[in-house]
């Protein structure tokens, strides 16, 4: 019985990391049909944001609130990854709608640039840059419309950018001087220290539940519920779904489809940032931290069926439980008297990487029977 609960909990823990990492991808891929290979790097940015936020909360005047830095990091990571995502959509992906293979290659290029960026640019400057982008993109939305209209508008826009750049440079400089370790480029991995309340574990019914894992599960549940509410109930969620179903018709009905694209991509990218916070709690953070998740994320989306959040949830939990079941060799524990030949096979796959081998093979086999995943979209298109 304990074994069952242990497997379930571990599976839930592994699955929830996969789920939070794949959630943004499922939205971007499912609703927009865009393959974003830079998704892993958006996760990585979220993880680095956590690191920066944590260092800022070490400063004397913020130290009393240190325990709460994870909450701030969640918001900050969402914003940072979201901003980078919006920029990515505006500059690259927008030109490539309708050609998914090209999008795939271009976003891979973006991911390479982002990886090298965090290696060779000091994090303080990076933070300043993100702040500049945030202000410059938000500025026109806040300013009164008449300032932006007519010939004066151009000057106003230039002024907004200049102001944003100034604030960004100042922020980068002050951050660099407050936290010296952020003012140098650091190609190595960094470690995020969890606050005291998040260390250790809880004993429950004979099980040891590590607190960081529990926190990740909570984050994931909140994120899934939040995004479900957003898509199903909010006005913009409805618009997003409308554009997904029929873009020209939505356009005719006055839905600003371009804004919807930006919003969808921004939210998907922001969720990658939230995933980054979760990832940073599990191990050290490096430029390649996101790349290790990306293939698993895509497997979740493919297995779950495109454009279906429930499928994503079930697929990631299933993969999580399977990983634990196979990777930790739990079948052997559950059935100690199994014949040696089967035991040898089970033992062969009883490492995390070999479990991945088996699970991916199983997914390919599964797709033989259900080519469009667990919950296929119904339609009559020939390209279905």
């Amino acid at each position: 019985m304990t074994l069952l609960f242990e497997t379930l909990f571990n599976g839930l823990a592994i699955g929830s990391v996969l789920l939070i990492a794949a959630l943004g991808l499922a939205i971007v891929f499912g609703l927009m049909g865009v393959i974003n290979l830079a998704h892993g790097e958006l996760i990585m940015l979220g993880a680095y944001t956590t690191y920066v936020v944590q260092l800022i909360f070490r400063l004397p005047f913020l130290a009393p609130f240190y325990d709460a830095y994870v909450l701030v990091a969640l918001v900050a990571a969402f914003v940072v990854s979201g901003i980078v995502g919006v920029l990515l959509e505006r500059t690259v992906i927008r030109r490539l709608y309708g050609s998914p293979l090209e999008t795939l290659l271009a976003t891979w290029g973006v991911s390479l640039i982002l990886q090298q960026f965090v290696r060779s640019v000091p994090l303080a400057s990076a933070a300043g840059l993100v702040l500049t982008l945030l202000l410059a993109l938000l500025g026109p939305a806040v300013l009164p419309g008449q300032w932006l209209a007519g010939p004066r508008g151009r000057f106003t826009r230039a002024g907004v950018w200049a102001g944003a750049a100034l604030v960004g440079v100042l922020a980068a400089a002050s951050l660099g001087s407050l936290v010296p370790s952020l003012s140098r480029a650091n190609p190595r991995n960094v470690d995020v220290t969890a606050p005291a309340w998040m260390r250790g574990s809880i004993e429950l019914a004979g099980l040891t539940l590590p607190v960081p894992r529990l926190v990740i599960i909570v984050i994931t549940v909140v994120a899934v519920l939040g995004i479900t509410w957003f898509l199903a109930r909010s006005v913009w969620g409805m618009r997003i779904r409308a554009v997904t179903q029929n873009r020209p018709m939505s356009d005719c009905l006055g839905i600003p489809t371009e804004t919807v694209d930006v919003l969808t991509f921004g939210v998907g990218s922001g969720l990658a940032g939230v995933a980054g916070v979760a990832v940073s709690l599990l191990g050290s953070v490096g430029p390649n931290v996101g790349a290790s998740y990306i293939v698993g994320c895509f497997m979740v989306v493919v297995l779950g069926g495109v454009g279906n959040l429930l499928g994503t949830v079930i697929a990631s939990l299933a993969i999580g439980v399977m990983t634990d079941l196979i990777g930790a060799g739990r079948l052997l524990t559950a059935w100690p008297g199994m014949p040696p030949s089967i035991a040898a096979v089970v033992d062969f796959f009883a490492t995390t990487s070999m479990a991945q081998v088996l699970i991916f093979s199983l997914i390919v086999v599964f797709l033989q029977f259900r080519p469009s995943g667990l919950f296929p979209q119904k339609g009559r298109l020939v390209e279905a």
């Binding site: 030109r95 050609s99 293979l101 090209e102 795939l104 290659l105 390479l112 033989q368 020939v382």
Partner: protein
Amino acid sequence: MVASSTLLPQPSRWIRVAIWVLILAVLVAAPSVLPVFRLNLLGRFLSLAIAALGIDLIWGFTGILSLGQGVFFALGGYAVAMFLQLNTSAAAGMLPEFFRLYGVSSLPFFWEPFRSPVFTLIALWLVPALVAAVLGYLVFRNRIKGVYFSILTQAALLVFFNFFNGQQKLINGTNGLPTDTTVLFGQQVGSEPVQRVLFWITGLLLILSWFFVRWVVRGRFGDVLIAIRDDEPRIRFTGFNPVVFKTIVFAIAGALAGISGALFTVQSGIVTPQFMSVPFSIEMVIWVAVGGRGTLLGAIFGAVLINYGKSLVSEALPQSWLFIQGALFILVVTALPQGILGWFFAGGFRNLLVRAGLARPLATYPSLELDGQEEVRL
């Protein structure tokens, strides 16, 4: 994707002759002109070009984007490395050295056939081809295509990587199999004379592969491939079975990648699971994209150009290569979808001259340029 490459570039005869003279001159002159280090590098790049030809065949002509060519590349490399290891240790009557480190006393069963050189020469392309055929058939059968196929090939890549990486006792895991210290015909494979011969073999095989792929894409078979790329449902409704064509073509690309991997391995001196790393396989795609997909010379040109650029940049400014590479991906896809040679053959250079006022524009009606160019050239 359709629009970018339906118009197959058609270089003038003289350009083609000039390119060929250039290629032959490089192949003939290189061994006597270049120092052995550079020659070896060039040999490696030429062997990579064979894999690029395969990718051009499946991506440029059939519209299948595989992000897992590294699997086949590495399988070819492992085949030849296993043979060389056995060949070397058999002379001493022992198992390859690394087995002793892990306390393995008997040869794993799948090593046995690699004692034979004939078997190895066949296996290094047949095994990758078979793996590609099985994988391709299982996926194509379900009409999984486009990005889903790409993602699945990437997952397959990761599966193979994990498998090879984790199996110390079977194939030396992470460390890979070195070939430069092994012995063939009484000579060390890493030695200079052997490397020079390998360069020739590479050049020869590259030209042979080029002829082979050209033969495949010309004629009716090639027409079907292009039709699959441009409108697969329509070709299905016309009574063709795209699964057969796609499987065959994917297997051919796998075989080419295997040959490429084998040649690359003997010239770089080691095969490791890193050959199956995710970035490397995507890099292969960008060689073709930069050179010009749908043009076979473009694939070769792109592979050599990018790798040469990579080695130059990495020597001078190691940090900037990822920036450059990333920018290349974005630029090629957004600004130059036909690739360099595709752009050149399509009259891009002349158009540039026209814009600069150095040449007179050709007075043609746009549709005239489209007519009569469906035939595959190059």
